[in-house]
């Protein structure tokens, strides 16, 4: 068990990186608290697997350091870091039984057979693999194979961190949910730090206490699922999390107020002082209501997504999505939209540029 510190971590797959774009990871500074359940969320190619492989030691970072508690492990090989990693496609040793698969990491480290037996039995019971211990692992279903690769990580005592690299990719949809809650349960039992890499927001938000959102080799926001939803620090987070994502509307700023399409839009707080940049208003579809007053708009599309309707309205040439519970207007109808000021924020060059409600300027 350990706290993991990433300090000024950069990585490039090129031998001589020059431009910032040459880096797959651009300066990561991050602490993973001991025993936390983290999700690393981001689109494909954002660097999350690179980051994971650096923590596990499969990749040597170009710059920066990794600390487990206070020990520098930057250049230690994976087997000396006492970590576990579960891969996208289940990795099992085909010719071995389930028991031998689980015992493999222990036997490689010269643990005596009595301890091996006890540990394997304990882990198998935890993962509900007990009754298949003596069958060959090759013939099992993907979810059981994935449990075995998890078990090979957990079987070692005091594993520092268990990392999951999109572990549910090959699992049948109806088993995904089951395995996901198993993971959550496991985390509560073993209390090891767990890092779960995914591009699926549902998986990330249900598994993790803290979600780290990455984009383009950078960390854009770290927070609880609620924080990410309620107050995205970057338009990318607003857009990536939520279904549909946050509306991002072009706007002008003058004299401390934001104007969209000529109308002044009240914001959650004061606009932070900064040099000029591209400014946008961000508001989630859930925080807009249809009413008798507000911005004039025309309905162009209504889609029923089950729990509610998603209405797409046009103001000028800008499309705005609104989540509507209850009666929906017809297509082509003219309506008024009002934004909840407490949930309306200004973003400058993508980053949040309003002060939170109640914050002192």
């Amino acid at each position: 068990m350990a706290k993991i510190t990433l300090s000024k971590l950069r990585h490039s797959y090129y031998p001589n990186p020059e431009k910032p774009d040459d880096y797959a990871l651009k300066e990561i500074d991050l602490d993973w608290e001991d025993g936390g359940a983290y999700a690393l969320l981001g689109p494909s190619g954002c660097g999350k697997s690179t980051l994971l492989n650096i923590i596990s030691g499969l990749l040597d970072p170009s710059e920066g350091r990794i600390l487990f508690d206070d020990q520098d492990v930057t250049h230690l090989p994976p087997d000396q870091r006492n970590i576990a990693q579960v891969f996208q496609f289940p990795v099992i040793y085909d010719t071995m039984t389930v028991f031998n698969n689980l015992a493999f990491p222990l036997r490689n480290r010269g643990v005596d057979e009595v301890t091996v037996k006890a540990r394997v039995a304990e882990i198998a019971q935890m993962l509900e693999l007990g009754d298949m211990l003596h069958t060959r692992a090759a013939g099992l279903s993907p979810d059981n194979k994935q449990k075995i690769s998890m078990g090979r990580g957990l079987v070692r005592k005091d594993v520092n961190v268990v990392m999951f690299d999109e572990p549910l990719t090959v699992i049948d949809p109806h088993l995904k949910w089951k395995l996901r809650s198993k993971l959550k349960e496991l985390h509560q039992k073993v209390r090891a730090t767990m890092i779960y890499v995914t591009h699926d927001q549902t998986e990330a938000l249900t598994f993790a206490d803290q979600v780290v959102v990455m984009n383009d080799g950078e960390i854009v926001q770290i927070g609880t699922p609620v924080e990410l939803f309620e107050r995205p620090a970057h338009t990318f987070v607003g857009h990536f999390i939520g279904s549909p994502g946050m509306n991002v509307l072009p706007c002008d700023v003058s004299q401390g107020s934001a104007f969209f399409n000529g109308h002044m839009i009240p914001l959650e707080g004061n606009i932070t002082k900064s040099k000029t940049g591209k400014t946008e208003i961000g508001i989630r579809p859930e925080h807009i209501s249809l009413g008798d007053h507000g911005l004039k708009a025309v309905i162009c599309k209504v889609s029923d997504v089950g729990r509610h309707n998603v209405v797409e309205a046009m103001i000028g040439d800008t499309a705005i999505k609104v989540v509507v519970n209850g009666a929906v207007p017809a297509q082509g109808e003219a309506i008024h939209l009002s934004f909840d000021p407490a949930k309306t924020r200004l973003y400058r060059d993508g980053w949040i540029a309003t002060q939170a409600k109640g914050a002192t300027p």
Binding site: I83, F87, F89, Y93, F104, P105, R109, S149
Partner: protein, 286 residues
């Protein structure tokens, strides 16, 4: 239940005909010869299973069969491990991959009789490059035309040179199909490089290796041209493998009956060993 679709037979018929003309009918002529004695002029006398009985008790046949198994055993024992070692040490990506692959494939592209002739000329003690160098420069007494041991060393080396590539290419194909995650997981599990080979690479290569060994067994067990061109079965009978002996009986002595009986036994052994091997290797595949 009553069969309702007699029409299905028409669809099987083309295959049936093909197999008949391709395999069954030629083979039946051999069966026909094997139970009769002939002195030419199209005169045949019934012999029953006499040829088979005689052959199975013939020392000449036992000796040739023994040499055949020795040859096949030796080349498999060399080519399979060597092929795996070469495949393991070949690069998995980059500029050298196609270079290695093409270099490996080259020997296999050379026709059998050319291989035999090449090695014959190469190893002749008086004019061959290798033969001459061994005798004069290195001072090793090497003459594959006189010394049975030298002759054996030469045919084994020739086959290893000609066919190890097949094992290499098939093993390599098996190796490159292993996803990186397996090696990464093994690193995290603290596996030694022997354990990686034993529990990841070898199991993943098992299927292609089965095919490679099967092909090498059948080809080497039936080998004729290369050895015939290189040594002609000599010195003495020391490299007279089963196929060479068979041709001697059939075409040299024109004993069609015994030769036919020998062909059938030869075929049965090849088939039996191949079947046994394949069944054993694939029995726990799921």
């Amino acid at each position: 239940m009553k069969t309702q679709y007699q029409k299905a037979w028409f669809f099987v018929l083309p295959v049936l005909l093909l197999v008949a003309f391709n395999a069954l009918i030629p083979m039946m002529t051999v069966v026909n010869y094997s139970v009769q004695e002939t002195f030419g002029n199209n005169l045949f006398f019934w012999e029953g299973l006499g040829w088979f009985e005689k052959l199975l008790h013939s020392e000449r046949f036992h000796a040739a069969l023994g040499r055949q198994f020795l040859f096949t055993g030796l080349i498999l024992a060399i080519e399979v491990p060597l092929g795996i070692i070469i495949a393991l040490s070949m690069p998995r990506s980059g500029f050298w991959v196609p270079v290695c692959l093409v270099t490996m494939a080259l020997p296999m592209l050379i026709p059998w009789n050319v291989v035999g002739a090449m090695w014959n000329i190469f190893t002749l003690p008086d004019i061959g490059l290798l033969g001459y160098l061994m005798n004069t420069t290195l001072g090793i007494d090497y003459d594959m035309t006189q010394n049975p041991f030298a002759a054996w060393a030469t045919i084994i080396t020739m086959d290893v040179w000609h066919w190890t590539s097949l094992v290499v290419l098939l093993s390599y194909a098996g190796l490159v199909s292993i996803p990186d995650a397996y090696y990464q997981a093994a690193k995290i599990d603290g596996a030694s490089s022997w354990a990686v080979f034993r529990y990841i690479q070898l199991p993943k290569m098992k299927q292609v290796l089965t095919i490679a060994i099967l092909l090498r067994f059948m080809d080497s067990f039936n080998i004729y041209t290369e050895v015939f061109v290189l040594t002609g079965g000599g010195p003495g009978n020391s490299t007279t493998l089963l196929s060479i002996d068979l041709v001697k009986i059939a075409l040299g002595q024109f004993d069609l009956g015994p030769a036919a009986a020998m062909s059938l036994i030869y075929f049965a052994i090849t088939l039996l060993v191949s079947w046994l091997f394949y069944t054993l290797m694939t029995k726990d595949d799921t």
